[in-house]
């Protein structure tokens, strides 16, 4: 009849290779989100960043509302189309990245099952 009682002692933390606690270790996923987006936004020439969910509704954005909504809607449809195109040709293939180069800037779309990351960059100086 062994009873397991809680001694109230926490097990010793394993020595981790990661130096020091970071925001991710602290369990704040939203800070991590912010950090990633900030890092992307700080790249040279980046005009805006938009995170869109699977239905085309923007979640996070650095642009103004009307532009965001427009980009989200249009690029969501385009990504769906591109994805279906790739899969029609080869069902085992899948879309990993979509880059649209225009005269003024370049739109990059990273698709996922549930989300879409849209980055607009002005490559020319």
């Amino acid at each position: 009849m062994n009873k397991w009682t809680n001694t109230g002692q926490e097990p010793e933390p394993l020595p981790s290779s990661v130096p020091g606690p970071t925001a991710t270790d602290l369990g704040e996923p939203q800070a991590e989100v912010e950090e990633t987006l900030k890092r992307i936004q700080s790249h040279k020439g980046v005009i805006g960043t938009v995170v869109v969910n699977a239905e085309g509704i923007p979640i996070r954005t650095t642009l103004d509302n009307s532009t965001t909504v427009q980009y989200a809607g249009l690029l969501h449809q385009l990504t769906m189309k591109a994805k279906s195109t790739v899969r029609d040709i080869d069902p085992q293939n899948d879309l990993t990245f979509l880059r649209i180069r225009s005269k003024k800037h370049e739109i990059m779309v990273a698709p996922d099952k549930e989300y879409l990351l849209i980055v607009i960059q002005n490559p020319c100086e």
């Binding site: 040279k44 020439g45 509704i57 990351l117 960059q121």
Partner: protein, 819 residues
């Protein structure tokens, strides 16, 4: 010898004879005795003929017909006298009884015919019934014989008999195969008879063309269409939903994965632009207009007012925003302050003017705007070029509304409207041919003398129509959509903001006062700004004080954040579209309509601006007022930075048309370029020039070029990409001080620069191709240059700090050593 008969003539019974006279005597048929016309025949006995034949044998005339006579059945032969030799001989013999009968008793027919012929002239027809005659065979019985059917063979008769007992016996039938017994049947098989097969060689067929028809059918499930959803606005997440989503793990994972590839892509773009067409970028812009080596400004036209009695100088120049070739200058008398006071009586008689010059007429100005005193600065309203605001030497703001004359100046080339003669024109200068005379236009409104500026207004600007400010200096969205606010700075050390819309009167007294002092306005002055006339108060006043001392900064030029929009060429179309079109309701005539809208504040608006002062300082200050805690009054904020760079009056503070935060200041003997936000000092400061700089302006098309006018009439053209320590070019324009420079773009190929001088002459020069056309990447190169300068300044600051520290350390060491 065969008797010859007249068978050939159809009378086989007639045998022609020749009877000699001897024979005639014998038979008593002598011609004209026995046989006459009435009785041309004679019946001769056969016996007599035989006797004659016997008597004379061959000599007898009847010898040829001997045989006929012998065969003649009757007794008497008929001999006819052929008087007419019808049958060839004088007599003929009828060889048959029938013939004889016929002759003697000719048938009725010839007689009838003869009778009928006889009776024709008498025209009476007598009917004679037919007389039966004997049937004459004409061969028809032969045809009947042929056609009639007659038995060719004799009929055969068969007699068949049978035993009597076999009659009526019962019959027994049995089946028998027809083919088994030989000859049991006779058949007539059908066979293709070639005689009856016809090959059809022609066929008549008709055809008709119809469109192609295709009939298909399918089975579907029919449902009537109906709207499932209607969307009016995009779907969005609320803030809470966004927050919850942010914390979801899938999003975090997704971002981590996606950002990797995104960053790779971003870096690729940063490293190199793979889509550049290298060939295209190698070559400079082609299609240069004109000589590439020509870098001088070419004189195009010059305007001088010949009609003014006193010597005038040009204080301000402005191109008309929309009309090609129209430029306005404000002139002022060239007198010092003492002289002005001395001649004030004389000066009152002469109207101070703003002249409108047109390229088409260098002698007569098109319009002359009258003002109460000399104008030192003026501006066209950006949203309506018919509204002009000017700053007077006495501290008043003057407004003109030339909408009524707009069509006059628009069709300048036509120019044939007559108007009142200007009373000030000296008679000897009038040309009798000229029929275009300038119109004097009185000002619409002036600001209040007591509450406005006390000294000369040195600069005036229209605030952009995208925002408006209130008494506190807070920025709001523009309610009216037009430029309705002005900012002025004056030598009395204040900067005032004005609103041209009717203010709600604070106290009812003022309206009563207005009614008492109602001044009669001349009929030709538009009433656009009637509400402002003489009672116009500024919205807010900012005093540039130097702090504790009573001396204040005396602003000469200001530059706001939004000014560059008016110069930018790309936005020219925008500003033009905003300009009020004639025919529509001019919002300036209905200024109150915009006041009813609510004020909507604009966030993040930069309310700071640059000020250049009379003493050569460049001040960067804020126009937002703050409430002083002690006195409760609205106090202007302290300036952010003050730099004393120039040695003389700063007369140009101008933002670059290409960069919103680059400002050019020109004053004294040098010029400086500043970047807004960099507080340590100017990016570039030129060294002292040999001659004083009196005016300056950025180039409108080339980011690194600006023009500076000198006091000796030279214009210095600076090109930042070429040289930064001295001007790239220097050109002599006139002999006296240049007071104002204003370039203007008319088209891609035509750019003009207006240069005004101290003696009142306005010169229009054409900017050559090299100075107007930016080279490729010029903007980026100039941008790079400014960035380098910023970094340089930062470095200098850092070095300063380091030096300070080093100095401190050295001092400490010195101190230590002492001890």
């Amino acid at each position: 010898m065969e008797p010859v008969n007249m068978e050939s003539m159809g009378h086989p019974e007639i045998y022609p004879l020749v009877l000699t006279t001897k024979t005639q005597e014998i038979f008593n048929c002598r011609i004209d005795e026995d046989v006459t016309d009435e009785q041309p025949y004679k019946l001769i006995n056969k016996v007599d003929i035989f006797e004659d034949l016997r008597n004379r044998a061959a000599v007898s005339d009847f010898h040829p017909v001997k045989k006929i006579v012998q065969e003649y059945p009757g007794n008497e032969l008929l001999l006819v006298y052929d008087k007419d030799f019808k049958y060839g001989l004088n007599f003929y013999l009828i060889g048959t009884e029938e013939g004889k009968e016929n002759y003697l008793n000719p048938p009725e027919v010839p007689e009838e015919q003869e009778e009928y012929k006889e009776h024709i002239p008498e025209d009476v027809y007598v009917y004679k019934p037919p007389v039966s005659k004997p049937w004459v065979s004409l061969g028809s019985e032969k045809e009947i014989e042929e056609e009639s059917v007659m038995e060719s063979t004799k009929q055969i008769t068969y007699m068949i008999s049978q035993k009597r007992s076999e009659f009526g016996a019962p019959v027994k039938f049995s089946d028998q195969n027809a083919s088994s017994v030989k000859d049991a049947y006779i058949e007539c098989t059908a066979y293709p008879d070639k005689n009856f097969t016809l090959k059809q060689l022609e066929k008549d067929v008709s055809m008709q063309v119809i469109p192609q028809i295709k009939d298909t059918s399918t089975q579907t499930e029919w449902t009537y269409p109906k709207n499932a959803t209607t969307q009016y606005y995009p779907r969005e997440f609320s803030e809470e939903e966004k927050e919850t989503l942010k914390q979801s793990k899938p999003l975090v994972d997704f971002l981590n994965n996606a950002s990797i590839s995104v960053e790779i892509a971003l870096q690729q773009n940063e490293i190199m632009n793979t889509f550049i067409d290298d060939w295209k970028y190698l070559a400079e812009e082609e299609g240069t207009f004109g000589d590439k080596t020509d870098t001088h400004l070419k004189e195009y036209q010059s305007f001088t007012d010949l009609h003014s009695p006193t010597e005038k100088m040009i204080t301000c120049v402005s191109w008309h925003p929309t009309i090609y070739g129209l430029i306005a200058v404000s002139v002022a008398v060239r007198l010092s302050f003492e002289d002005r006071v001395y001649f004030s009586g004389k000066l009152l008689l002469q109207p101070s003017l703003i002249l409108f010059w047109s390229f088409s007429d260098p002698i007569h100005p098109q319009l002359m705007l009258e003002s109460p005193d000399d104008i030192f600065c003026f501006k066209f309203c950006p949203s309506d070029p018919n509204i002009i605001a000017g700053g007077c030497i006495n501290g008043q703001i003057v407004l003109w509304d030339i909408t009524a004359h707009a069509d006059r100046i628009e069709n300048i080339k036509a120019g044939d409207s007559r108007s009142k003669k200007a009373t000030l024109k000296p008679m000897f200068l009038l040309e009798p041919e000229s029929n275009t005379e300038a119109m004097y236009i009185r000002h619409c409104a002036v600001s209040s003398i007591e509450s406005g500026h006390k000294k000369v207004i040195t600069d005036i600007h229209w605030l952009s129509d995208t925002f408006e400010i209130n008494r506190m200096g807070s920025v709001f969205e523009n309610r009216s959509g037009i430029c309705c606010q002005l900012v002025t700075c004056s030598a009395d050390c204040t900067i005032c903001f004005w609103d041209i819309r009717p203010q709600k009167p604070l106290t009812p007294q003022t309206t009563e006062k207005k009614k008492e002092e109602s001044i009669e306005i001349p009929f030709d002055v538009p009433s656009t700004f009637l509400h402002l006339d003489l009672s116009w108060k500024p919205l807010s006043k900012i005093r540039l004080s130097k702090g504790e001392t009573s001396l204040d900064y005396c602003p000469t030029r200001i530059s706001l954040n939004e000014d560059h929009l008016l110069y930018k060429t790309e936005d020219k179309t925008l500003t033009q579209s905003k300009i009020v079109k004639t025919g529509e309701m001019n919002p300036y005539h209905n200024l109150e309509s915009g006041m009813a809208n609510l004020l909507k504040p604009i966030d993040d608006f930069c309310t700071k601006f640059f000020v250049g002062t009379e003493d050569g300082e460049v001040i960067y200050t804020d126009w937002k007022m703050k409430k002083d805690s002690e006195t409760g009054r609205l106090m202007p904020k302290k300036p952010v930075s003050i730099h004393t760079i120039h040695d003389g009056t700063v007369h140009t503070v101008q933002r670059s048309p290409f960069y919103n935060d680059i400002i050019l200041t020109v004053g004294g003997w040098n010029m400086a370029i500043w970047k807004e936000g960099v507080m340590t000092g100017p990016l570039l400061q030129s060294c002292c020039a040999p001659k004083m700089y009196t005016s300056g302006h950025w180039s409108l098309t080339r980011p690194g070029v600006f023009y500076i006018g000198r006091e000796d009439g030279y214009i210095d053209i600076w090109d930042l990409l070429e040289k930064t320590h001295e001007p790239a070019q220097s050109q002599n324009i006139c002999i006296t001080m240049i007071t104002y420079i204003k370039p203007w773009i008319f088209s891609a190929k035509q750019q003009f620069i207006a240069i005004a001088d101290y003696y009142g002459t306005l010169r229009i020069l054409e900017i050559p191709w090299t100075l107007s056309r930016p080279s490729t990447n010029e903007m980026t190169s100039v941008n790079h240059y400014f960035e380098r300068e910023v970094k340089h300044l930062e470095y200098v600051e850092q070095r300063k700090n380091i030096r300070e520290q080093e100095k401190k350390e050295m001092e400490l060491e010195m101190e230590k050593k002492k001890i």
